[in-house]
């Protein structure tokens, strides 16, 4: 491999004058020496300073989440200087004249003060809120990336779980923050949360009374949520992010397969300087984006909603988008309630509000273990899979995304009704059926699509790619001319596992006796067949040989037309993978 010579080359090719480096090193070495004599960090740093990070745009998603959390910490601390987490009633006399004389909680008043009397306060409040949106959105997309590429497989299952818990904490943290200003919308959100808590069988009423320090709304929920919002949950998030990053460094990042990239190595840029510069620079871009949004895009204009009043509500009241699915489930649930022996059990609230979110999260967290059990695969995986090469997994996520989208739409059914002049009741009835039917259709469609993409890959490997040049044969028939793809592209396409379908009783124990495989073996065999049975496997070496042979014959017939007709495969750094995106060559 050429990598060793490349390492040497990298030193030579860095720019900069030798003289100044030498001088700096002298001073730098002194500082390092001073620190190392006390901390002894050089042993760890020696390995990590030049640690290799592979490069791909999708690896940036987690970084967006990380940096937006840092932005949240910075802007959040700024807000704490002025925010007063108190529900004591005060009368407002401030710069926002429209609310002058109104009675409101101190929390709401201090939010108005931050918005209208602290210079830059409104910008920071809006930055904080936008960064919160970005944080949760980036985590979700990052999670989808990890799922689709199989990056959660051994040895990274624990990081997958940490990530799932981070999303949950992020959503709870966002809800707590949304509730702090004590405006009409946040109070309505709390009212709904109270209703959901109360629906918990047996202990619900007690939970509600302990949360709110008595009957809703009480006067302690904002201070309590404040503690959770600025100390408890950020602390947990910080600890989990630290664990997430440590595991990332320990496992080393996954990479896409390709020439020179194997399960045993990791190819990319060194931490110092390139990765550090790119990641550090990216922090400023995320921070700057939040600042621009905070200055230019209004979010949560609480002064328009007014202070919370339990007897008031606005039409079209919507929670922040990440609560959308809970909201959607709550809205389309049929009105089921059971009265038994003097007790009330509200399925209509308890199921969508508490049971389903937990079930959904558990399903997501359990997936790596489910998949590993079905495949029986106990090896480590460091090369990513293209989504198409795991059709069932991909289809599952896309189906889940369609469910998410539907519930989200259901959560805004009133907005949809107004927007498209539809009947609200019809939308709801439609959604009640759609959440069961559409994800299934999406699943089937996505799986088919993946498999046809796999087939297309094999076509490319065996017959080359379609050039778009139509040939007319001496007999008058028309055909499209195919050209072979480059060796690198061909290698990249074949660098994946063959799926093996588990057959019940196929396991053999040490003595060579067939092992029945336990009670669940039948289920496992069925799942395995379902997950991998339809997949298209890559061609074997012989099939490839034959394919090339065939292509050469065809080529001889087409002699006269040269490669100059199409140059895509030779255009330098361009990889064949991208070709599919360009409409399939």
């Amino acid at each position: 491999m050429s990598s060793t010579s490349n390492v040497a080359g990298s030193v030579a090719s860095t720019n900069g004058t030798t003289a100044s480096t030498a001088k700096k090193q002298g001073r730098g070495a002194k500082v390092v020496g001073w620190a190392d004599e006390r901390l002894g960090l050089a042993t760890a740093a020696k390995k990590n300073l030049r640690k290799v990070f592979p490069d791909h745009w999708s690896f940036m998603l987690g970084e967006i989440a990380l940096w937006s959390f840092v932005v949240l910490l910075i802007t959040g601390v700024f807000l704490t200087f002025w925010f007063k987490p108190s529900m004591a009633e005060v009368q407002y006399f401030g710069s926002y004249s429209e609310l002058n004389g109104m009675h409101m909680s101190e929390a709401f008043k201090s939010t108005l003060d931050i918005s209208f009397d602290v210079r830059g306060g409104l910008m920071v409040r809006q930055m904080h809120h936008w960064a919160a949106m970005l944080f949760i959105a980036a985590m979700l997309v990052h999670m989808a990336r990890v799922f689709l590429t199989g990056a959660f497989r051994k040895p990274r299952e624990i990081n997958w779980i940490i990530g799932g818990v981070l999303i949950l904490l992020g959503i709870v943290e966002g809800f707590a923050g949304y509730s702090l200003p004590d405006d009409l919308l946040s109070g309505t959100g709390l009212r709904i949360a109270d209703g959901m808590v109360k629906s918990t069988p047996v202990v619900g009423t007690y939970m509600s009374f302990f949360m709110f320090g008595g009957e809703f709304p009480g006067d302690v929920i904002v201070p309590r949520l404040y503690m959770a919002h600025i100390l408890l949950i950020p602390g947990l998030i910080l600890a989990l992010i630290a664990a997430h990053m440590l595991l990332l460094v320990y496992h080393k990042h996954t990479q896409w397969p390709g020439p020179g990239r194997t399960e045993e190595n990791v190819v990319g840029f060194p931490m110092l300087p390139v990765y550090m510069a790119k990641a550090g620079g990216f922090f400023f871009i995320v921070f700057g984006t939040c600042a621009l949004m905070g200055g230019l895009l209004t979010i949560n204009p609480v002064w328009k909603y007014g202070p919370y009043d339990p007897s008031k509500v606005t039409a079209g009241s919507q929670p922040d988008w990440y609560m959308g699915i809970a909201e959607g489930m709550l809205r389309i649930m049929p009105p089921w309630e059971t009265h038994l022996w003097g007790h009330t059990l509200s399925w209509n609230i308890f199921v969508p509000g508490e049971v389903l979110p937990i079930v959904l999260l558990a399903m997501v967290l359990a997936w790596p273990f489910l998949e590993a059990w079905v495949t029986g695969d106990k090896r480590e995986h460091h090369l990513l899979q293209r989504p198409r090469n795991a059709p069932v997994r991909t289809a599952f996520l896309v189906a889940m995304m369609s469910l998410y989208g539907l519930l989200w739409a259901a959560g805004g059914n009133d907005v949809l009704a107004v927007l498209f002049h539809l009947n609200l009741n019809h939308i709801t009835y439609f959604m009640r059926g759609a959440v069961f039917i559409i994800p299934v259709l999406v699943f089937i469609f996505t799986k088919r699509w993946c498999i046809s993409l796999q087939r297309h890959d094999n076509e490319k490997l065996l017959h080359g790619y379609e050039t778009g040049i139509i040939m007319r044969s001496p007999e008058g028939g028309y055909s499209e001319r195919h050209l072979p793809i480059s060796e690198e592209s061909a290698y990249t396409l074949t660098a994946r596992d063959r799926d093996e379908i588990y057959v019940q009783g196929s396991d053999v124990d040490e003595n060579g006796v067939a092992a029945p495989g336990g009670k669940l073996a039948g289920l496992r065999a069925k799942l395995s067949l379902g997950m991998f049975g339809d997949n298209v496997q890559k061609p074997t070496a012989e099939e490839l040989e034959e394919g090339h042979h065939h292509a050469e014959e065809e080529h001889a017939l087409e002699a006269g037309l040269d490669h100059s007709a199409d140059g895509h495969q030779f255009d330098g750094r361009h990889e064949v993978e991208g070709e599919a995106l360009r409409g399939g060559h």
């Binding site: 491999m1 990598s3 490349n6 390492v7 090719s13 860095t14 720019n15 004591a88 710069s95 926002y96 209208f116 210079r119 409104l122 809006q126 930055m127 009212r191 709904i192 209703g195 109360k198 007690y206 009374f209 009957e215 809703f216 009480g218 006067d219 020179g260 399960e263 990791v266 840029f269 390139v274 510069a277 550090g280 620079g281 990216f282 871009i285 995320v286 700057g288 621009l292 200055g295 230019l296 002064w303 007897s311 008031k312 606005t314 039409a315 009241s317 649930m333 009105p335 009265h339 009330t344 609230i349 695969d377 090896r379 995986h381 060796e487 690198e488 290698y491 994946r496 596992d497 588990y502």
Partner: protein, 362 residues
């Protein structure tokens, strides 16, 4: 991927990929213009510096905007955003962005762009390390004697369990016990109904057919007119404030609606004598999860909750006609007092608001 990877040691090895095409190895590095052309290199250097300078300019502009632009009542200026807010956001945003763009430009154009390769190691420790750890662990446990002394072990586990009790019991004072609080509101016999905003009592003839009014029990709204307040005090009305007021508003708020008596459907849970000349009063608190209900469909006497669109028919005992709410809205029995105002015959006969476990009524 079948079970033949079972042998302990091979478990942690990465999956070898069966390769029909041999791995061609890392592609040779292609130099960038900045690697070979000194002019391109200097140009890139100047560009990076320009970004950093632009950032400094923006940071200074931020300070200028901070001290020169007024923020009072911001929303009036500059498309509702406020001049100061826009200027501060734009200058800070650009100051940060330019640093980021500068650094990334530097990394892409001038820092080494040679990909290097590093070996991976299995996540698991070496076999020896693992054995040494297990040996240390069992030696430690052996020396503690925890296995040999079940009495100590079991009492310790017991003690650790019991120490959990103070932690849980300590949370008891987070709030009072529910008791019957959720079943009560301030409504009782002869409580006057007052307008939500002004706090004035309501006479039946003040409502036209089709009128909808947000109302409260007297005592929840401090009347705008001091005379009425004084008169209220003279009858012993207490005006609530602070938490008590908020709690009571979240339970006692009602809606008054006047309709043609012929449109009404009466039933056991909504008898005829609970309404006055087609005027009915219902709890305003949704029986789903407790939002205040507000949207009225004029012709149908339907009332819609804006939170999850449960719809209630006020002409038919508050029946749920649509949506996730499972129970009708509780109705407040009305009558006319001797001095001609609308008052309650009694309090609500069932708890208002969302369901809860101890709720004992259909």
């Amino acid at each position: 991927m079948s079970e033949n990877h079972d042998a302990e040691s091979s478990n942690n090895l990465p999956a070898p990929i069966e390769e029909p095409i041999a791995n061609p190895g890392l592609a040779p590095h292609k130099p960038r213009p900045t690697d070979i052309d000194p002019r391109a290199e200097r140009r890139a250097e100047r560009q990076v510096a320009a970004f950093f300078i632009a950032s400094m300019v923006c940071a200074v502009l931020f300070c200028v905007a901070y001290f020169t632009l007024d923020i009072k009542d911001e929303t009036d200026t500059f498309i509702g955003l406020g001049a100061s807010n826009v200027a501060l956001g734009a200058t800070l945003g650009l100051a940060l962005m330019f640093i980021g763009i500068g650094i990334i430009h530097w990394a892409r154009k001038l820092m080494g762009d040679v990909e290097i390769s590093e070996q991976r190691h299995p996540a698991a420790s070496s076999e020896e390390d693992r054995e040494a750890t297990l040996a240390a662990l069992s030696a430690g446990l052996e020396e503690s004697g925890i296995g040999r002394r079940p009495l100590i072990r079991n009492t310790m586990i017991g003690a650790l369990g019991f120490v959990g009790l103070p932690l849980i019991v300590g949370l008891r004072d987070l709030g009072p016990l529910p008791g019957k609080k959720l079943e009560r509101t301030v409504w009782k016999k002869d409580t006057r109904i007052v307008r939500d905003v002004t706090g004035t009592p309501v006479r039946p003839e003040q409502l036209e057919v089709g009128d909808l009014m947000n109302a409260q029990p007297e005592g929840l709204v401090t009347p705008h007119s001091e005379e009425i307040e004084k008169e209220g005090h003279s009858r012993g009305v207490e005006y609530l404030e602070g938490v008590d007021l908020q709690v009571e508003k979240s339970k006692s708020s009602v809606i008054l609606l006047r309709m043609e008596p012929k449109d009404q459907t009466f039933s056991k849970r909504s008898p005829e004598n609970w309404s006055v000349n087609g005027i009915v009063a219902f709890s305003k608190i949704c029986t789903h999860v407790g939002c205040p209900i507000s949207l009225n469909e004029q012709q149908s006497h339907h009332l819609l909750c804006p939170c999850h669109q449960s719809t209630f028919d006020l002409a038919d005992g508050g029946r749920v006609v649509f949506g996730p709410a499972a129970r009708p809205l509780p109705q407040l029995p009305l009558k006319i007092s001797e001095d001609g105002y609308l008052v309650a015959q009694s309090g609500f006969l069932e708890p208002v608001g969302p369901s809860y476990w101890e709720r004992d009524s259909e």
